[in-house]
Every structure is written in C-alpha cells, then in structure tokens.
Symmetry: C2
Subunit: 101 residues, 2 copies
Amino acid sequence: MRKYGLHNRLVAHPGRRDALVQIMIEAAALVKDAPGCELYFVGISPREPDVLWVTEVWTREQDHQASLKLPRVRALIERGRPLVAVPPDQTVTDVVGGKGV
Amino acid sequence: MRKYGLHNRLVAHPGRRDALVQIMIEAAALVKDAPGCELYFVGISPREPDVLWVTEVWTREQDHQASLKLPRVRALIERGRPLVAVPPDQTVTDVVGGKGV
C-alpha cells in the first residue's frame, strides 16, 4: 500500500532556526503516537543557516489531516508561524517502498 | 548525535520513472543491512510524472560513502544512470531528531 509522504523545506527568519527546530521536535513528540504517523523527523542544512527540513510519512493522508486538528498541534503551529520567513515549500509524495516505511 | 540525511529529487526521462523506482527499491533492499543505514525510502510525486524522491538517513556520512563502494550498489547506479534526465538535486541535512530516526 502506498503511504503519504511530505517533504517540508522551511526557511526561518535569521537567527530563529534553532527555535523553529525545537518546535518541530516538540511536534514530532506530539504526533509520534498519533494514528498513522510512521516517520516525522527534522534535519537542518549545514550549508543554509536558516533552512530546516521536516520529513513525514503517514499511513494515509487522512491521518495527517487529522493530526493537524489536534489542539496541541494547532498551538505549536501558531508558535512556529512567526518564525517562518517564507511560505513553506511542501512536496507531497506517494511513498512506494524502501527501508523504514 | 546528529545523523546524516539525504533528500534526493530525481527526474527520470519521460516514461522511465517506474523503471527507476524499481532500481531504487532494489537499492534499498541492498543497503538495508549495510552498517549505519537507518532509512532509505522511495516516493513518487503525484503531480510531476517524471519525479521521484529518495530519502536516506545514515548514522554517519562515512557509512553512506562506504555503501557507494559496494559492487552491487555500483552496478545498480550504472543501471539507473541512463534513466535520469538531469543531474540529481541532492540536499544534505544534519538530522537532529524526531520519530523514526
């Protein structure tokens, strides 16, 4: 079965990336036991000091949509939003296989 | 400890994406037990018919480098290369945390 993948490239305001990383790590801790959350991890770019990547795999798209309605997730999104400099670059994929999914 | 992440966006020649996906799934099967391979999964874009994403997390960059020297991995790279239309867009990240890493 194909799964629902998201590759989010976020650009923080200068000097705010680490704060945004902490929020996304909190988000991972919040959703890790949510139905259908298979992967949710955060990376930073060693070359671009304001950039972070959030990579998600959900069993179904609906599982991801449901997670966005959780009050504590919505609160985190509100905390993170002011730290983000430009609209997120989000790519949706159909995850077809491999190790870890 | 930070881990070594790779986000590879590949563009196949028209009509060859599925063949390239199969090669990358074979690659995942080859490296899944290689030292330090934590994640290696393949996604396709539902919106861009020639695009696939390969997402990797390795414990250390050296583990990834070592995998590229395995003869069977090199053979797969040679099989895949003619299917790729443009130089891969590869982003390196330092994976700092989350679920599944």
